[in-house]
Amino acid sequence: MKRNTTLLRTIALALFLFLYAPIVAVVVFSFNAARFGTGWKGFTLEWYASLPGNNVALAAAWNTFLLALCSTAVATVLGTLLGYALRRYEFPGRRLVGRLLHVPVFVPDIIMAVSLLLFFGLVRQWCGLFELGLGTMIVAHVTFQIPFVAIVVRSRLAGLDPWLEEAAHDLGANAWQTFLKVTLPLMLPGVMAGAMLAFTLSLDDFVVSFFTSGPGSQTLPILIYGSARRGITPDINALSTLIIGLSALATVGVTLLQRRREG
């Protein structure tokens, strides 16, 4: 195995710095006492202090979290069942459905967003359902989460010994008991991975939320976008830094958990 040359090391380090430049900028500016502009005017924590009193931000945070929780719950159940069916049952069209599952993953989110906007609009004209709001956002999120969950669950199931379910039947477990006592416990890591993926996708989503949101259902990304268009206020930097911190913690936590399970 080649040893890393100093040249390679320098280039790679520079690229890592490039990768983190935006994150570092946001963190640094969150402590900047300047009210506007980007000149440095001293260190302060006032922007962080202002956050708890910022009702708009708190409402947005609550919406974001609630949306992610609800949509993840629904998508995990539906996606797990779909992933399980694709791995376990042979049926006509199985391979086609499997390949079709990748389509929603690659469709640009703006196209999915406007298509849902159109769909909700037309249904609303027809029978008054689907007023834009948290409900439509949950529906939209579940729609793009299901394929991800199904794909993750299906690929994790590949590593599962298919004889185990047969052994359970042989030993006297009916279908339901087999699922509860054998299949589900063994599938759980995959289901958890799918659920986490879905949760993160929902938290980070902007485009789909933007097009399917209504008054009063603003999420954090929408809030940040609005602020970025009008001109960034420093409290947004503080908010963003907190989000960055949580994301970093979550990523590190998940990595450590994975290593502990594999080790």
Binding site: K2, R3, N4, L8, I11, A12, F16, F18, L19, A21, P22, I23, A25, G37, G39, L78, G79, L81, L82, Y84, L86, R88, Y89, E90, F91, P92, H102, P104, F106, V107, P108, I110, I111, V114, S115, L116, L118, V142, T143, I146, P162, E166, T178, L203, D204, F206, F211, P221, I224, Y225, S227, A228, R229, I232, S240, I244, S247, T251, T255, R259
Partner: protein, 317 residues
């Protein structure tokens, strides 16, 4: 109506004999069908209603005429597509063809720049010791899970006119004094590459990690210089990773609208911006749908080309 349902069920029964449960209980045909419908049914149904039908609606609406704000009317027409191709009401207007071309160029350019940046990073990480490797990979993944909006608006801060980078660029004569790198095409490219870099690094790293260096050693033994060693011994092996990375970067990048919107200014409008404008601002849903359909067509084409290419690559390997 009821007859149709019973016919459908009878057809399912007949097909049920060909349905196998891969492992598990011995089930009768009827039980199998019920099981499969129960498991795959809910998700399939959901995706049918909330993914497929809306897309079909978009396709349909793109052939309709524009009604009053936010509605559509029935006279079927190709007008939106003609406008997209440049033949608007007032003669040839290259606005939309240019936007389409610009989006494709942006996507391809981003992918290319990402490849150039990701290669050294991937090789660097692959050459680290195991504990450092995990740490480095985690460092690459963290930006991935950090909100795209945050990483995007940050470039407004970094490239503001009074910022260090803009002043340096002005001093070098790359831009006018007093102007900023933001808003502008440079800002858009910088942000795109930075935002999509992890999507290129990770698949590329997966390929590099599995590299068989004996090919490189054989090439060096036979007298090849550095570039030829890379080109003949290493590049063929990392092709799958390169392809996956390009796919993960190019396809979303062409449909990107947030980044050009926040960093680009007026002259860098892309497909995404056009769609957003037509749906939210102008209320011209048929036209917006037509743009969406064409953009989706580009994506599907790219996906199809990739899957065919990668299958050949896999067979060669």
């Amino acid at each position: 109506m009821f007859g149709w349902w019973s016919d459908a069920f009878a057809w399912l029964m007949a097909r049920a004999r060909s349905i196998q449960v891969l492992r598990g209980e011995a089930l009768s045909g009827r039980q199998r069908v019920l099981r499969i419908l129960g498991a795959a049914g809910p998700a399939g149904f959901w995706l049918l209603i909330f993914f497929l039908v809306p897309l079909l609606l978009i396709l349909g609406v793109s052939f309709l005429s524009r009604g009053e704000l936010g509605t559509v009317e029935t006279p079927l027409t190709f007008e939106p597509y003609r406008r997209l191709a440049g033949f608007g009401l007032l003669g040839f207007d290259p606005l939309y063809p240019i936007i389409l071309a610009r989006s494709v160029v942006l996507g391809a350019g981003t992918a290319l720049l990402c490849v150039i940046c990701a290669l050294p990073m991937a090789f660097f990480i692959a050459g680290l010791r195991p504990t450092w490797k995990t740490a480095a990979l985690t460092l690459v993944i963290i930006p991935l899970w950090t909100n795209l909006l945050i990483r995007t608006y940050a470039w407004q801060l970094l490239l503001a006119p009074e910022g260090f980078l803009s002043r340096a660029a002005a001093a070098l004569g790359l831009i006018e004094a007093g102007a900023g790198l933001y808003p502008g095409a440079a800002a858009v490219y910088a942000c795109m590459v930075c935002d999509y870099l992890p999507f290129m690094v990770l698949p590329l790293y997966a390929s590099v990690e599995k590299l068989d260096w004996s090919f490189a050693e054989a090439a060096m033994d036979l007298g090849a210089n550095g570039w030829n060693v890379f080109r003949h011994a290493l590049l063929p092996q990392i092709k799958p990773g390169l392809f996956a990375g390009c796919l993960l970067v190019f396809l979303p990048a062409t449909g990107q609208f947030v980044i050009p919107d926040l960093l680009g200014g007026a002259k860098t409008s892309m497909i995404g911006n056009a769609i957003q404008q037509q749906f939210l601002a102008s209320g011209d849903w048929p036209f917006g749908s037509a743009i969406a359909v064409v953009s989706l067509g580009v994506v599907m084409l790219g996906l199809w080309v990739f899957t065919r290419q990668s299958r050949e690559e896999m067979e060669l390997l």
